[in-house]
Symmetry: C2
Subunit: 842 residues, 2 copies
């Protein structure tokens, strides 16, 4: 069952009902100011950091759900009976109210549609003969969300419509805002500027003290009133679905001191038959220098009144519909040009729309937000993940390499001097998160993966010479290449009794905690090591090391001398690393091989994890994917055998589970993985993130049908028709789908912020469609099922447009601009070449 449809021409998903199984959301904003927005306009906004600079308040787990941060109320007003003058505002009464986004008022609408597009959402509704169109977006390079609403009177008589918009302020720190009420309820402060032609309501809580930022909510037309006191707006016992001021038909002009400040301006619109009018509401964020905080710092009477000049300037940039429309077109143009870097026509609409639009779009969102703020990640805890952000970059680097470059330096700067890493850092401060710490032994190797991808994409080896701090300490700067060296050396020097890398607190699977041994409820599985015997090893990290150790060696060979190493030093380092890679590869084939698949790990007692000798957790997905991607066992049939076992033992219609059988009891020696109910999360759920590894692995061993089948099982466009089961958005990936052993197989959770986006884009673009950048050129090596007979791919790469046509003829040949080329690599085009025509037959 579907709740909407794709509109590929507009790059939109069109939701046809407010009653989606779960709120289906979109993200607004590309740089610093971000908003989440659902198909009923729920969500919230923040600046850079969802924890430390939360602008509007959102209640995760609210009842009723998904209300309050961004509310619109339309009220049809009519003269009271016997009113002397029908133009007299005081003689008007409310006769009907509705929300143009359905929530919060829940008035059944005559029509409803939500279009989630690239960085914007449009809500169309009609009720009582009033058509409404609400467009929400964050303009480029702007710390503000614009909500333009257009009303059209389709009745044959004049209508008076009051438009009340409301945002609830978060008191900046999202954690304190939701917990420290003994303080919070006394701190809220606002200012109100009700001008003849516009109203601006300022939120200045804590501005008096250490904050150099405030927010405002404005409308570009005169208002008939406003409210800033939530309890006054709602009235006693009421929710967002029944505010007192809406029932009464008038604002209270309330001024907040403490408690819960809101901003709710009210505009009155008179519409003749057929007439349309538009209002522009804006939620803006302003930072000022310390010495420019006050209206007049030298006038004691004006200390305490905020300096509104920068707010006025921001307001003026969008104070007409025309200015807003220009900004909206700029945003659309920006996204068209971003997505244009990789476009494909395959004959399969689902595949095309995912590759051309939604997968790339989700890659941008995960790059921006890591795992911080979604409808499942509350934005209160996790900031940017070291592991996460390096992987996210793999799917984003082709879109804006410059931002990827900056991100790599940010990430590297949180690396610790011994090569290990802070597991997370706050995007605002860029400091490592001490609550979580480090000790996740896969972390450092992901830095190699992202840098290798960046170098392939751009060829810009200057990044290797760019200094980056360790542990964000001034004076600790070393060139990025040195960071890579320490990453690789960390694994080399942390190996266990079987010659496999030590796992530390956990590897990619945060829930496989082999040194934790926790028996205390609530104790963090991630940060506690009650029994670190120093021998727990990870076969997964072994696969990573073989893959990324080799990438590091290739970086050295290619760029080492350009980075100031002499040839001997390069050769010595490369030899060292390749020797270690060979050792780890051998150890993987020896202690890491279980007979029909790769084992997962060895625990703190030296026992194998992920083995047929166990009754549960006999096979895990991660090593099957990573080891084959690293080439281990590809030449001796073991890779094929591992993938056959994977397909047979724990793959269902919805994908491949993370392990099987799921654990029925808590195993103290394994940690959190065994804590979940069977079939959920790391205990047998389908982690979409590592399904593409299996797809890539199948492509590597040449099983193109299974490679594509793996791709489609978790791909939203292909599961759209099962939305009533899948429940999450059919246009983006979710982190986890309930596994075959669960109560509700196929039910998705934790949509949007998942490494699935990046890895699937790597899979589909580089392996299935087979267009992979290398140091020397663009490798073209598709692995699509036989029914795909023609592929048209356009790829912008290092300033040149590669126009690639693949035809299935049964015979492999490659030509570039009409000239035949050996192998599968299209050489880097000559400098200045705008376009290269590539023809491949397979």
């Amino acid at each position: 069952m579907q709740y909407g449809h794709f509109d590929d021409a507009r790059r939109e998903y069109v939701i046809e009902t407010p009653a989606t199984p779960l709120p289906w959301i979109n993200y607004l904003g590309n740089e610093d100011f971000f908003s989440l927005i659902s198909n009923t306009a729920g969500g919230y906004s923040f600046y850079k950091d969802a924890k430390l600079r939360r602008i509007t308040r959102y209640r995760y787990n609210g009842v009723p759900a998904d209300e309050g941060a961004r509310s619109f109320y339309l009220t049809l007003m009519e003269p009271t009976d016997g009113a002397a003058d029908p133009m007299d505002d005081a003689a008007l009464k409310p006769v009907a109210s509705w929300s143009p986004t359905f929530l919060p008022l829940k008035t059944p609408l005559d029509s409803y549609e939500c279009r989630h597009g690239m960085g914007y959402s449009i809500f169309r509704a009609s009720y009582a003969g009033i058509d409404s169109e609400l467009t929400a977006f964050v303009p480029l390079h702007t710390p503000a969300e614009i909500n333009k609403i257009t009303l059209t009177n389709t009745n044959d008589a004049e209508r008076i419509v009051d438009v009340t918009a409301c945002v609830e302020w978060c008191l900046w720190n999202a954690v304190d805002d939701a917990s420290n009420f003994q303080r919070n309820l006394s701190t809220g402060e606002v200012e109100i500027e009700q001008n003849d032609d516009a109203t601006l309501i300022y939120h200045k809580t804590e501005f008096k003290e250490r904050r150099n930022h405030y927010a405002f909510y404005s409308v570009n037309e005169p208002t008939v009133g406003y409210d800033t006191v939530r309890d006054e707006f709602l009235g006693k016992f009421n929710g967002w679905d029944s505010p007192q001021v809406i029932a009464e038909g008038r604002a209270h002009d309330s001024v907040a001191y403490g408690w819960s400040p809101i901003a709710a301006p009210r505009v009155r619109v008179r519409l003749m038959p057929g007439q349309s009018t538009s209002l522009v509401f804006m939620l803006g964020y302003i930072e000022v220098a310390d010495d420019e905080k006050w209206e007049d710092p030298n006038d004691p009477a004006k200390v305490g009144i905020i300096n509104k000049k920068p707010a006025h300037e921001l307001f003026a940039r969008f104070d007409t519909v025309e200015k807003v429309d220009v900004a909206f077109d700029e945003l659309k143009g920006y996204w068209a040009s971003l997505l244009d870097g990789f476009q494909v026509r395959t004959g399969d609409d689902k595949l095309d729309r995912m590759v051309n639009i939604w997968n790339q779009y989700q890659c941008m969102v995960t790059f921006n937000l890591s795992r911080s703020a979604s409808y499942y990640e509350s934005g209160m805890g996790r900031g940017m993940g070291f592991r996460d952000s390096n992987q996210d970059l793999l799917g984003f680097v082709h879109m804006i390499p410059e931002r990827a470059r900056d991100r790599i330096i940010d990430i590297a700067s949180t690396q610790l001097p011994d090569g290990s890493a802070w597991h997370q850092y706050q995007p605002l401060t860029k400091q490592g998160n001490a609550d979580i710490g480090g000790g996740f032994n896969d972390d450092p190797l992901w830095l190699v993966a992202s840098v290798f991808a960046y170098l392939n994409e751009t060829g810009d080896d200057s990044i290797l010479r760019t200094p980056a701090q360790f542990d964000n300490k001034e004076g600790s700067e070393q060139p990025l290449l040195e960071h890579l060296r320490r990453s690789v050396r960390f694994t080399m020097s942390h190996r266990g009794p079987h010659g496999l890398p030590l796992i530390g607190r956990a590897d990619w699977n945060d829930c496989l905690n082999l040194n934790c041994f926790s028996s205390t409820p609530g104790e963090s599985f991630q940060t506690v090591e009650n029994n670190d015997t120093g021998i727990a090893e990870s076969v997964f990290i072994a696969g990573m090391f073989v893959l990324y150790g080799e990438q590091y060696a290739q970086i050295l060979e290619r760029f080492g001398e350009a980075c100031g190493m002499d040839g001997d030093a390069v050769r010595a380092e490369v030899a060292d690393v390749r020797k270690a890679v060979a050792e780890v590869r051998d150890a993987t084939l020896d202690a890491g091989w279980d007979g029909a698949w790769f084992r997962r790990a060895y625990d703190a007692n030296g026992n194998a994890v992920g083995t047929a000798e166990d009754s549960e957790g006999r096979i895990y997905i991660e090593p099957q994917g990573m080891c084959v991607m690293a080439g281990i066992g590809v030449d001796d049939g073991r890779a094929a055998q591992a993938l056959a076992s994977t397909k047979e033992l724990f793959t269902c219609r919805w994908g491949t589970a993370i392990l099987a059988p799921a654990y029925s009891t808590y195993r103290i020696e394994l940690g959190e993985i065994s804590s979940y109910p069977r079939g959920y999360k790391e205990n047998g759920g389908i982690f979409c993130h590592n399904n593409p590894w299996i797809s890539i692995a199948n492509a590597i061993i040449g099983d193109d049908d299974e490679a594509f089948a793996v791709y489609t099982r978790t791909c939203p466009a292909y599961t759209e028709e099962f939305s009533q089961i899948h429940r999450t958005e059919p246009y983006v990936y979710c982190q986890m789908v309930a596994g075959p052993e669960s109560h509700a197989p196929g039910e998705g959770k934790n949509s949007w912020l998942t490494g699935t986006a990046a890895w699937t884009f790597v899979d589909v673009s580089q392996y299935l469609l087979g267009v992979r950048p290398t140091f020397d050129g663009l490798r073209i090596d598709p692995h699509m099922p036989a029914e795909f007979t023609e592929l048209h791919i356009e790829r912008s790469w290092r300033g040149t447009r590669y126009i690639i046509d693949v035809t299935r003829t049964g015979e492999r040949s490659l030509s570039v601009d009409g000239k035949k080329v050996d192998g599968d690599i299209v050489p880097l085009a000559a400098a200045g070449a705008k376009e290269v025509q590539v023809t491949l037959t397979i």
Copy 2:
């Protein structure tokens, strides 16, 4: 304006409308299992620790407010039109629904009343001719909340009423429950046991792994259905005010896997005219040993099914109305006996009800909960405060000295070896809270205060010889007397340039942060010391040291030798301490005196704080109270002058503000105190906590009229008539009342959990009424205004009942059992004496 009235005979406050200005709450539970319950039955339950063992879910700052944790729905059912058999359940339809507690359904009731009593709350309502009475309480020595509901049909025909009760489970850790949704939404698990005569719904989330506890919700009658899936119960878009199953008139028998588990059994009641029936709902908490978690640990099929035996046993204790009524009577008897220890008749009903009932009751609540869980303290952060709990004990020690003794040892065990202390500890683990740490230099001296009070109350000097750990480390045990020595020595060895004690991070006023110098938003004022120059001093701690240093000396003189010290050692230690006390007293009179009041502190630059030389923050309340209580300046008129300044400069109808004038700008050298809006919280709010210090101080200098006036200004019974201004409960103290410089003077906040309860009880019982235990006897020294001509006081003390009659004659004389006694101390009665008659004329 009042919203209810006191019913002194029943020891209840009777709330006459659901529409109180704020939810007015009560606490259920005296030992380990606690519930908060508002006048519309909002609130939540927890076991020992509101953060780590939260049983039901509560949304602080929910919209609509105060719903969801404990919901009752009554539905009048009628046969559908043309139903063949009116007794056929399937042929019934709902015709009206209401909540017997008004919320969440909000159906206007024909009558409503909420009676908050001692550890219980009763809700009476009527609607559609059905009278309901719901009694909520936690039985003594029982980890469960009982909700007995009695329905009476006052119609002249039969009625069928469906009773649906609903609790929403918190997934145990209140912080994770409100933030870690990417995990939470996959972990929820329940079991359902629908028997012929009862239904029990078990909440077993995480029981599989490390938890040894589960909860259940039961009803002692057969059910017609149940729900455990919140979203199924509520339906799409609905709140607690409009559940789908209530609208439909039937339960869905839903079974929760993940998402948000609830327990909502539904019982059908058929009532003949005039007939009554009662149901018993129970919310129980169960702990089991690790090897008794499962129904049958040896049967693999039964691993995963929880061992319900202990739940059945608990259920059986309250499975009939008769058993519940017995338990309820036991609870009432328990409270009658507890309160009986101090009873007074003064001719002033307001005074009597506060002393005899509500002040003592609040003292119990603050003793139990410190500052952890109220409608303002979210129970997520603060556990037991070192400073707080020592002070809370001052008002509680006369009620259950044995529990006070245990608490003192718990507190002392979190002291650090150098005499300083962890500022807070978690009640469940009793470990110091590392997030906050220590460094609050008043903390250690409060331990002297509580031990001195305990010794006066009980004479039990064995506590001084009882070993207590330092920093909860095994092997670090030292007798409690050694803890006191280190407390006092800590202050002696931490004095600044003026000879005054160093303040550390803060003293009693957590917001006076003289070493903090924070310019980073959100940085904790309490834990950061950016500029600790080592010289910031506190005049308040100076007063404390003079007061409690002397108490320590008296403890030594009295009990030192009994604790194994030889006489010389006692004398040497006492001399040392008294010498330091004299030095600090002199320093206070010198550098601590501003000319017309005591100064507050010296900041990190050596500048005075709380001085007429400043433009704001010229006078603070704390040193005026504490220094005079310590006797400083009493003999030379400076005490009187300080109190006159206090009355004149920052006392209003609602009490004395914490400082004046309030700070209009942020002062980095003062910290959080200057961060609040003017007139709120520590920036000029009225802190009820330190108003009794001023009352005591006035009693000490003999201004009895002002002493009593101070008492009444903040006393709830005296402000009841201004409830529309005060807004918080008129039967308990709140932490803070908005000050004269605020936007809303007189508006209370942060009710219930405040040291005000204990300090006011000390004030009114020991100073105003003047009955104060000493080592040698009961001092009787009332300081009441002249209009109080007769006082009758009964006080149980060390096993004897002292019946005290005070008559104002103009001549002072004291007689005990008819015999005249010199001075004002009634000597300790002979062992075994049941009763002593005391007659005092003044």
